[in-house]
């Protein structure tokens, strides 16, 4: 009888070995060689002085903003107006290639791909789902390599740059325990707004300990345990990608749209800030730092694109207007057409709306 049980041994050991392997793999890897301790200022300096001009890597982005997930298939899915909105719901994987001013971002969907390619002064967008391409001829000397990401996911570097630009005395900056990102040991720079009147609970920026390159950004909102937005490299190589990666000619049969070069304006990495900057000339800002409320005058609502119209469906009626509530940004659309947006609770938006 004992021998019979012996024969079941492989059937027991194999799952046990696999379970053991998985457990061992999922344990947080203790920092193999801990980074030298640094003050927040030194880490900020490390970011500021990094000179990584070339890299190729894979980004993973996930968002839990509380927005309804858009269908990835079916009518209306993947149209250019709603594309960026879709990027804010659900998880996405993208490959990023950088070399000097050349850049390519590939957002990998199932059986489809969205590409943004910057090669020299040419900017190409390609969407394999409907086989369309768009071309922008940038004016010579447009040096900012970060301008080519509209319609794709932002890299941690761009996002970190935007967030760190917001640093003010109202923010606690600290360095958390070392973290391992894409096989590299990284500093964890924690930004915590002191104000209680913002939806943002904390921001974590993962900074590569060697090069100072931001490897990931995590935004946490109040009252939500999962990060509201997170983008990190899952694999990264700090060497120049093959030059052929940046060479792009639209495939025959693709519908190519020629887009005039944009006048200089900041392209938003996250749509809310993008909207803010686009209408910056006409908008007014009350409050400062993380509690800033942006007011857009009446009439902006009329120019709403398909995406904004979709967003309006997600808005709920509140006294005096409609509220679009996400984990990080609240948008109040008043009945008279004015729009108030900010990373603050509804009450503060309403308070900002009253005096005028």
């Amino acid at each position: 009888m004992a021998r019979k049980w012996l024969r079941w041994l492989p059937a027991v050991t194999v799952p046990a070995v696999i379970a053991g392997g998985v457990l061992a793999g999922s344990l947080p890897a203790s920092a193999v060689d801990p980074l030298p301790a640094k003050t927040p200022e030194q880490v900020l300096q490390l970011i500021a002085q990094h000179r990584e001009a070339a890299l190729s890597g894979t980004l993973e982005q996930s968002s839990e903003l509380g927005l309804p997930e858009l269908p990835q298939a079916g009518p209306g899915a993947g149209s250019s107006e709603t594309a960026w909105l879709e990027l804010l719901t659900g998880p996405h994987t993208a490959r990023v290639y950088l070399d000097g001013t050349d850049k390519r971002v590939q957002v990998m969907d199932r059986f489809a791909e969205r590409n943004a390619i910057r090669h020299g002064n040419e900017l190409w967008f390609y969407n394999s789902k409907d086989n369309t391409a768009a071309h922008v001829q940038l004016p010579a000397g447009a040096a900012d390599r970060h301008a080519a990401t509209e319609g794709t996911v932002p890299t941690p570097e761009e996002l970190a740059g935007k967030l760190l630009a917001k640093l003010d005395p109202g923010t606690d900056v600290s360095v958390g325990p070392d973290i391992e990102v894409a096989g590299r040991t990284a500093y964890q720079l924690l930004l915590t707004p002191q104000s209680a009147a913002t939806l943002l609970a904390s921001v974590a920026v993962y900074v590569d300990g060697q090069s100072g390159l931001p490897l990931g950004v995590e935004l946490k909102s109040r009252g939500q345990s999962d990060p509201a937005f997170r983008t990190v490299f899952t694999s990264l190589k700090l060497e120049a990608p093959d030059a052929s990666v940046f060479a792009f000619t639209p495939p025959p049969g693709a519908a190519v749209k020629e887009i005039p070069a944009p006048t200089h304006q900041a392209e938003g990495a996250t749509p809310p800030s993008g909207k803010e900057s686009k209408d910056a000339r006409r908008s007014t800002v009350t409050g400062s730092g993380w509690e800033a409320v942006v007011e857009l005058p009446a009439g902006t609502g009329e120019s709403m694109s398909g995406a904004a119209a979709l967003l309006q469906q997600a808005a709920v009626p509140v006294p005096g207007g409609r509220l679009l509530s996400t984990a990080l940004v609240n948008v109040l659309i008043l009945d008279d057409g004015r729009v108030f947006a900010g990373s603050v609770p509804l009450e503060r938006l309403q308070a900002a709306a009253v005096p005028r």
């Binding site: 019979k4 024969r7 079941w8 041994l9 492989p10 059937a11 050991t13 194999v14 799952p15 696999i18 894979t58 997930e69 993947g78 490959r95 590939q106 990998m108 199932r110 059986f111 489809a112 791909e113 590409n115 390609y126 394999s128 789902k129 409907d130 086989n131 391409a133 694999s235 093959d242 990666v245 792009f248 639209p250 495939p251 025959p252 049969g253 693709a254």
Partner: protein, 249 residues
Amino acid sequence: MLCALAAIPVLIAVAVRVSSAVPPGRGPAFLDRITQNGLFVGVTAMLVSVPLFLPLTVGVVAGDTVAGEAGMGTLRYLLVAPAGRIRLLLVKYAGAAVFVVVAPLVVALVGAGIGAALFPVGPVTLLSGDRIGAGEAMGRLLLIAGYLTVSLLGLSAIGLFISTLTDVPVGAMAATVVLSVVSQVLDSLPQLQWLHPWLFSHYWLDFGDLLRQPVAWDSFASNALLQGGYLAVFGALAYGRFITKDVLS
């Protein structure tokens, strides 16, 4: 069964040929590309057959391995021969594995053949918008067939184990096919996200990563690892069951 699988690309090609142009974004992915390039018939056919047809045929073959012999009453004669049960089990699984290799290959090659016959063949536009020559595209097509082979190895191991449990081959086949459908249903429920990476059907539809430039190997690697795990677990289970089984028929 191979004929039935071969009929899928033929059906697709003929249907696209006789009907009007397919607008992009409708129907299964790549369907609109067929009229420009016949090689996409193979890709589309594989895409269409992954959720049901391929698991169905694999389930039939794998479920039949041991239970089929038992059902016909020939299993005990096989065991009389001095070959040993382990060897019989290995040979039976090898037979199922050969089918798993051949089945996607048939779909791909028949698809490419009928596509070449009915539509122009030329450089292929990848998902990334880059173009590769027809020869390299053929290589990618075979690569996808290989990906599907790896994908289905786990299911065939499950089928082998179920097949050792029963003497009724139809029951083993049905149970295997039902399991593959259940796995895919679970995979589509967002509430069970923690479970998804553990489902053997999780990476089945990720072969599109092989159509990017440069090729994204991540899904291929994770798929191979997952299927290897299923192969080990259910292979061991099948071994334990078959070695200790009282063969009465």
